[in-house]
Symmetry: D3
Subunit: 189 residues, 6 copies
Amino acid sequence: MTQREITALNVGDGEAVSPETQKYFDLCEEKLGMVPNVLKAYAFDDKKLRAFTDMYNDLMLADSALTKLEREMIAVAVSSINRCFYCLTAHGAAVRELSGDPVLGELMVMNYRVADLSDRQRAMLDFAVKLTEKPAEILEVDRQALRDAGFTDRDIWDIASVAAFFNMTNRVAAATDMRPNHEYHSMAR
Amino acid sequence: MTQREITALNVGDGEAVSPETQKYFDLCEEKLGMVPNVLKAYAFDDKKLRAFTDMYNDLMLADSALTKLEREMIAVAVSSINRCFYCLTAHGAAVRELSGDPVLGELMVMNYRVADLSDRQRAMLDFAVKLTEKPAEILEVDRQALRDAGFTDRDIWDIASVAAFFNMTNRVAAATDMRPNHEYHSMAR
Amino acid sequence: MTQREITALNVGDGEAVSPETQKYFDLCEEKLGMVPNVLKAYAFDDKKLRAFTDMYNDLMLADSALTKLEREMIAVAVSSINRCFYCLTAHGAAVRELSGDPVLGELMVMNYRVADLSDRQRAMLDFAVKLTEKPAEILEVDRQALRDAGFTDRDIWDIASVAAFFNMTNRVAAATDMRPNHEYHSMAR
Amino acid sequence: MTQREITALNVGDGEAVSPETQKYFDLCEEKLGMVPNVLKAYAFDDKKLRAFTDMYNDLMLADSALTKLEREMIAVAVSSINRCFYCLTAHGAAVRELSGDPVLGELMVMNYRVADLSDRQRAMLDFAVKLTEKPAEILEVDRQALRDAGFTDRDIWDIASVAAFFNMTNRVAAATDMRPNHEYHSMAR
Amino acid sequence: MTQREITALNVGDGEAVSPETQKYFDLCEEKLGMVPNVLKAYAFDDKKLRAFTDMYNDLMLADSALTKLEREMIAVAVSSINRCFYCLTAHGAAVRELSGDPVLGELMVMNYRVADLSDRQRAMLDFAVKLTEKPAEILEVDRQALRDAGFTDRDIWDIASVAAFFNMTNRVAAATDMRPNHEYHSMAR
Amino acid sequence: MTQREITALNVGDGEAVSPETQKYFDLCEEKLGMVPNVLKAYAFDDKKLRAFTDMYNDLMLADSALTKLEREMIAVAVSSINRCFYCLTAHGAAVRELSGDPVLGELMVMNYRVADLSDRQRAMLDFAVKLTEKPAEILEVDRQALRDAGFTDRDIWDIASVAAFFNMTNRVAAATDMRPNHEYHSMAR
């Protein structure tokens, strides 16, 4: 797939990816069975790709008191507010897969508020969604609500960072009309 | 300044920064006359700091057909929508400095729409602000408006990436109540 | 399933449905393989159930220049604005099934604007969504846009009626926390 | 009055109404002194007219613990949010007439929040208006507020159904530019 | 009527109005048949009352290329956006009276967009309402639309000033819960 | 500076101001070192200028339990919501000057919510901003919150009047594209 097939932009099209990037893509194929289109979209510039993957991998895969599922739930709840087709598709699949609960994935996509969540996870998503919709109105009372739900200040950093990150990627995807890999749609249904 | 003085969170407080980070901070002091507080906020974790600075430096300082001033104008116009005290202060100062026009900095903070801009720069900011406010409604017509104003598809990528990045940092700053260095306020007035 | 399992309300719970309604439910089982939960939710009162099904069947199944798929697309695009878990689930499945295109169903749920639609269908959904979000701002120019896309005045009546109907059912479902049949989620993926 | 005089659409114009419908209209003339224009608008299709009147009559006139005045108050408060000229006119008149209080009718049209209402009626309208404006944010706490104000679960069903119904009719009226009978304006002033 | 009966505030209550103000009120009684409650609300302070009436009388009664009816139409369209019970009641009556068209008054209260207006008056109200809802987005194109509809720059000043003034009074009335004189409701129906 | 240089309108341009107005302008020069552009904008009509200055001077300079700084803080917080370049510039300077705290001025411009305010001042600004954004939703509970923060009913009148006044002037400035005197930008930094 060329850039033009993944996004509406004609950026670096036709050029071969660098050997370093090819190696990374081979690893993706091996571990995920595909190269996520977002990576191909960034592949026209090794530095941009690396900056993106470094941040993504740290936020979504590195150690944190938030489970990987919780981080994916934040990703989808935020992407639902922004109605991001790419992120809802890719991360909705991740929620279905990590939770083993296809309905939970749908609820995150459609309306997290009506999901049957623990107080902890509801507080987490309420914060992430308020941060998405009304960042200027986040006050100490919102941070305290997270602490009251059992989160540490470091956890708040992580919740905020993941929610903020998807507010970025949702907009890169929207601006470029980025298309998700077709495989995601049928995954873990 | 400790983390607690920079943000409302108590994260990694009291720990010394790593030698690598200290070296980076020394470089900041030398080149900027200060260490921007956002870097101190991220300093509790070298990987997070590095991921942030790699992305920041690529977007704001690396080669692009967008001038550095234009990238800062996007940063401030986006931060104005999100009412981010940290980013408006730090990047408002950058607009004043890079343009040599203190009023332009104020206009970006207050209401970019009433600034006296070239068609190119107005198109750029209109796109960045729509992407901020209504990402789900960005369509081909919006990309075409940028092309009509003289931007290439690669430029669109850069405009989108900068606007998206500040939609992330605005929210990290809001979530943590991040405070800008006091020096910014009087800079280039 | 009792009312309490389908909605958050305890209405007419425990009472057996009337013979007439039971007959209708048996027919549903036979033709659809299930009784849609919305019907069970209304079953506590035969008159209300009948009023609902008469209107639903006329709008969604009777003769119209809009195809059944188009009517379902309107249903899902409207329900996406209102974030209605019940209707997105049930009618998202219908879009997948009637179109044979699982991705189209997802696009209607997530963001109809980025779907690859004909001008006719885009005009239809633009009208339905504006009518949902800003009914007070519908003007002759909006009706004319439908005529320009090839719709007759009678078609406009049908588009408006379907969009309006789901603005009703979305709110009945939201107010009562109505839960969709589990079967819908895996249908036609 | 032909369809074209009642709405902006040319639907079934010029055709005589069916004998069954004519009989219904005669009854309206006899009991109300007029045929409400909404009925004339639907009269081009007997099935649609009957589905509409069956649902309307059940919701607004059948037995319910909500008084007819309360149901009309919901109708007007909802229509005020959607700024529906037809429904505000017709149901504003109904509130004036049923309450014998012309100012109450005006308050429902203009801003129900500043009316001097009982706690019960305020809770009822707060729910109806939130359901109108933010259906995705209705949660158990909102239903509980109604129970705390003395409403049963069946009453909640009725409040929700009336509010939802006018979210439908407001949009049919807006989409078709439906005009109310002139008589309503001076009624019960 | 004391202040407490007119507003929710207890300001200057019980004190007699000054002789100068009493004279003005006598004049109101003579010419209007009543003292508008807004004047009584301001009467606790002669300077505030005089500042208010000077501005009001200049804007609404002095020479202008806008007719008095047009100025009242702006008043009501603006007050409809802000849902101001006092101003909708008092100035809705004025539109009915000055136009001799009770339905026009209702349309301004309910939804000016569906009124059958001249291009000139529609442009005037579109500007006034955009200025009310989105003042930050008023651009040269909006002023030009007024010029294209036949307005001079001085007329634009007057349209803007009247719309802006009611954005003030709507908020004084809302903040104080100001109640209109009962007489307005039945006037010119 | 002519009207055309101060606003986008060509109103009364070229005419000399009246002797009375010239005297007033001379006084401004003497006391403020400049004639604020808003006064020049109104100078084409002595009555309009006088009505404006009478109201302004009473609200912002006359006796009140609100300090002049507090009134300026309201002015800027309101103007920030409306993104008014003129008022943010002129009154932002006033906050910096009266408080001797340049950062406080910036916080009012950028996001008053993250300022470190007393409970009294936060309550005052929360009311002023809600009155600006959602006047129709101001209820007794909002007035009571001000009383609980120590304000009298007369103080509430003053808070409301100042907030309402800037909702007017913001819109006059927006409608006319009014430009602030250049001197404000560097004042009290």
